[in-house]
Symmetry: C3
Subunit: 501 residues, 3 copies
């Protein structure tokens, strides 16, 4: 099948096949060759009527500028917001509305960075034009991973099979090492070596995954041991902000051993890469190395231009544009996160002490959560009854109200305080509906940001439940869910993250 | 007369005639039809050498981006500043100087947002190129009103006569409802319906004005009552920041009744509009409505592009450009806010206890204001005498100095503390000049921002005094002004807000 | 020799010869004449594929916008960062890395403003494309000085010889007066007059320098005395932030005498210039003057466009572009700030009490600095020995360690606490190297910003040592440096600031 990136959202590097990676590498290499042979300006008409919007809810000069450069060299235009401006201007507007606003502004592609995991899938769901993930929380930054691959591809003479790469700095807290190594796992005979303190080392789960996919992963005692046996050494920034209890002084002392300095690179041919920026306080690469042939990270930075220029060209070079229709895909109006429980005949009759004819009951609340649940629902202020009780033998408290139906925000707020509540809706004196409300447990997932109103959706990843947005696995823990009900629920989920339109 | 927007400042929607509104609606509709038929790029050369400057002293991504999109699709360029940057960079520079700087930069049109009412008229006075009001304080945002009208025009099949519109949310604190309803008052048989709490309802003054102009205004008991009888429902954001003592929790409880949710729109054909952004915390429109055919506010957002693209095209499509001359219109050098009082012969002799031969006296100061007036004038620090006294039978204190003439800043600062002071200038032992200093009473008016140095000007609006800048009516209250003096003053004022050049 | 600005860094106005100044004046005048005769758009293709990056670490709308306008009117593009965004985004990245990133983005020219003196020379050293100084600390802002010269040139009918210019406001704290007057010193028969309080007056050192170069400098008693005898009056902003102990109230009272108001300009033909912005709180030019023919500062602002447009045109109008190679000039890898001291035979034997066979000794530390030096080196935490001692008869303390070599950061940090330390490296039981470490004493010099890793370099300016970066003179004060050693060191330095590539 012909590979095409037309109108395609770029959410995660893991969505790319080996063939697609090679296709982009070749396209990026052509941009590189064009530039180096004096042809920088030869594509100035390719996207001359197209435009890119940057939606950077966190500051980024590097990523934003390189997308802009890509557009500029293809003759396109760009606009948008970034950093402090973004966070203050947009703080009371949902991502959905901001995306719609940008689509209404006839941008042909959106690049977004957002602090919450999974926001980019939601942005893509809401957008009529393709969306590129410029970093969603700790999750993904696929064009960074692709530019790293492109750099290796070109500097290694167009070959990724048999590559020998070292990793250094912080293999544990960043997404860079994970994304790049998973991308390389598509290729044959790849070796990854690393030397780092335990708490900065490669996570076992990742090592395992790579091994499964045929990558040889080796830990070496020292950086020089790694350097001796690789062609490229990929250094990363220790992510201090994600290491509680570790001071900058500790890191600086530790860096004596791990900093890439003249003593570590001399005598070897390995090229040093780095996603940049190097932290100037920590100086994980000593400035003296900058002036040696080992320094390849500035070339790597330029490969970011070639990759993005190539990607934008692939995505937008066709004629015509997307006509905005102002609508959202109706299938996303509601989530698929309500796990139905059977309406037992007996229970329907004797429910909840004093039978009610119309209203709702939330059952199986977490111990001690009642007061907080009460406060967020604020039912009496909203003009509804609210009775709460703890039945001794059952242990877990419940809440009863004459409100006919909770809003999605109500249920999310309850779930944040008491995961997997059972919700019962009663009408005409009978139990009409009973379900367990599932909410992704990743604390940084966009579906948990109540005011964003993202209807939670899961998918069935070969039998396992995963969040459509942040893609983390989800395990049902409620003791009230029977295995058959769980199996039926999983079977009802889609088996892939299909585009919303 | 042929309608033209060439070189015209866009300050207030109330400056537009019915014919001009229809002209812009037709121009906007052509842009809409062009876009929907694949012709987005057909005007890419229209303004290819023209450029727009954004001067946003308050953050705005929405308005700024849509003007940029308009320029981009006409082939023009844009630059400028916005938000936090604007407020910090520009905080010690007058609007006048910033406008001059932007004119010196050869921009062909300026779009400005500023927190003070009336700033845009002043910007237009200082600018040699046309200025578009992107929001001046609580005052005006004419392109928002025009895009609302355009949306109604197109979605209502090119007809504004006979329109039935509902208003919701906050009819009391925002400018949107006022501007749009006054624009609709140009058309025949318009009906406006609304349902809201008293304190968020339509102000009686506005209802009266609309009724005078032939608009039928009806209050209904519930939102559904409105929805049943209108074609469009215009929802707005409750402006919490303008409701002292009302908490977000109160608004949320109240919203149970007024929020646009599925229950309010189901069964009706009314299209829901909103100027956006929807406040994501309050959610005055429930997210479920977004996925229904009632949702028309994202289409409305796109009409913002069509309107601005059409307006910029009308304003700038001619050949040639304005040659900057670096000068300011000399007729704006001084205000017209000094109401002359007669120089009574007797008074000229026996003035102010101990006669002085040269100097100034400020009379009729407000009780208790002397100490503060003294502090702001700081006369002794500036090397001048300063005597203050209270004459018992007259009650009001006065201030006497050997300074020959006060600066405009002096008089503004005195007026802020003690409105309508009488100023007397004495030379050669005789009273040479006597006037009451008038300063607009709108606390947010740009003429009251002392460091902005805007010379206060008023105009005679069919016998009533109005501020040239914020356009609020002004009533002289000084008991010392005789009716004949007042009449002579009013007669001396211009009878319209003529452009400064 | 033909004058060319192709690929030239614009760092300081003092780098320009009389011929170069006249060349730029002529080029700027052509842009002025083109604009005034309707030809603004005639160069829209000159730089249509070129782009400019703004790197503004401090807010600037004025300078940034005028460079953008220059590019826009030449058909070029622009991007970059500014103000708060710059400072927050870039705070942990070195200037070197940011410059490399911008070069990797294929910008053809970089304009930078930075709070540290000398940063622009360093940026030029790191950049493969030309760099324009948009203001480095208190140091230089050459395009401001050139636009001032261009304004005088055009408004004075193409003549700079015989010019009579007054200076006012603050001649002491700003760079404007210094830069402009030094540029004018290239011309014949120039007279400079001024009237100001002593503490705001022209520094004697500058007066002397100007007198040497043939400029007549006269102090007059009052502003009117100046105004009477000049053709142009250049007013500047009192730089309150650089006057400790002086309040705004003091300045305001003083301004009664020095503010340019109607009383100061009436009766004279002098044109008032000002680099802008005028401080709106202080109002060093009264607003009434804005409306008179004396006001020439808005025309001056437009000359900023003409100058920058002409300069960019001169720099970039050639065919082709700089191909980025990702490398830094190897000759900048190390500084030239180590003043060698002879390895005396006797001393080599009996060094530092208990002889060590391998390690380093820092000698001649400042009294009382040992504790702080110890803390910043943190040797024991880094796994090295550290002995400190004070030998009575010698007075100055020293520090001894088994660390073989200090890093540049170590030596800078020591120098910040104890200037001109003597460093001794011992290997094989013998003194291998001994030098005094010199670090620029300008507290705002970029070479003192440890995390920026700028290798300190000096040059030999006709026998005097000057910092390559901030260009301040440097005097060796260590009593341990013998005159012959000093002379040999100075002789080893380059005799000019040669470009790094």
């Amino acid at each position: 099948m012909a590979i095409s990136f037309r109108d395609r959202d770029i959410i995660s590097i893991t969505d790319f096949s080996r063939e697609e990676i090679l296709h982009l590498c070749e396209a990026g290499k052509r941009m590189y060759e064009l530039e180096k042979s004096g042809g920088r300006d030869s594509l100035r008409h390719a996207l001359r009527y197209r435009s890119l919007a940057s939606l950077f809810y966190e500051p980024s000069t590097r990523t934003r500028t390189s997308f802009n450069t890509g557009m500029r060299e293809l003759g396109g235009r760009y606009d948008g917001f970034s950093g402090t401006e973004g966070t203050s201007v947009m703080k009371n507007e949902t991502v959905r509305d901001t995306v719609a606003m940008m689509c209404a502004n006839h941008f042909d592609v959106l690049v977004m960075r957002h602090p919450l995991d999974g926001t980019l899938q939601w942005a893509a769901d809401c957008s009529g034009v393709p969306v590129i993930n410029g970093g969603d929380g700790k999750n993904e930054h696929p064009t960074q991973a692709m530019l790293d691959v492109l750099t290796l591809y070109v500097l290694n003479q167009g070959k990724l099979d048999g590559l020998r790469v070292g990793f250094g700095g912080d293999l544990s807290h960043g997404r860079t090492v994970r994304s790049l190594s998973l991308a390389l796992a598509h290729f044959e005979g790849v070796t990854i070596r690393w030397a780092a303190e335990d708490f900065l080392g490669m996570p076992e789960e990742l090592s395992g995954l790579l091994a499964e996919r045929g990558v040889r992963v080796e830990r070496d005692p020292t950086v020089r041991d790694v350097m001796r046996q690789v062609d490229f050494y990929y250094m990363t920034r220790p992510q201090l902000e994600r290491m509680p209890g570790v001071t900058q002084k500790d890191i600086l002392a530790m860096m004596e051993q791990y900093r890439i300095d003249l003593g570590k690179v001399s005598g070897f041919d390995a090229k040093v890469l780095h996603p940049l920026p190097v932290n100037s306080e920590i100086a994980e690469i000593d400035y003296r190395v900058y002036f040696t042939p080992a320094q390849a990270f500035f070339r790597q930075a330029e490969f970011g231009i070639f990759l993005r220029k190539a990607l934008l060209h692939e995505m937008l070079r066709h004629d015509g544009y997307v006509v905005y229709d102002g609508a959202l895909p109706a299938e996303l109006a509601v989530g698929n996160n309500r796990l139905p429980r059977p309406l037992g005949e007996a229970k329907r009759r004797s429910m909840f002490i004093d039978r009610i004819t119309r209203g709702a009951v939330i059952d199986h609340l977490a111990e001690g959560s009642l007061r907080a649940v009460n406060a967020v629902l604020d039912l009496e202020h909203r003009g509804h009854s609210c009775t709460t009780a703890v039945i001794a033998e059952k242990r877990n408290p419940f809440l009863k109200t004459d409100l006919a139906e909770f809003t999605e925000r109500d249920l999310k707020q309850v779930s944040l305080l008491s995961p997997e509540p059972t919700v019962n809706y009663i009408a005409g004196g009978r139990l009409r509906e009973k379900f367990v409300y599932l909410l992704c447990r990743n604390e940084n997932c966009v579906t948990r940001a109540v005011a964003e109103d993202v209807p939670p959706r899961f998918w069935n990843d070969r039998g396992a439940i995963r969040c459509r947005y942040c893609r983390r696995p989800y395990t049902v823990t409620s003791r009230k869910v029977e295995p058959t009900d769980l199996a039926a629920y999983i079977a009802s989920l889609p088996t892939a993250i299909e585009p919303a339109r």
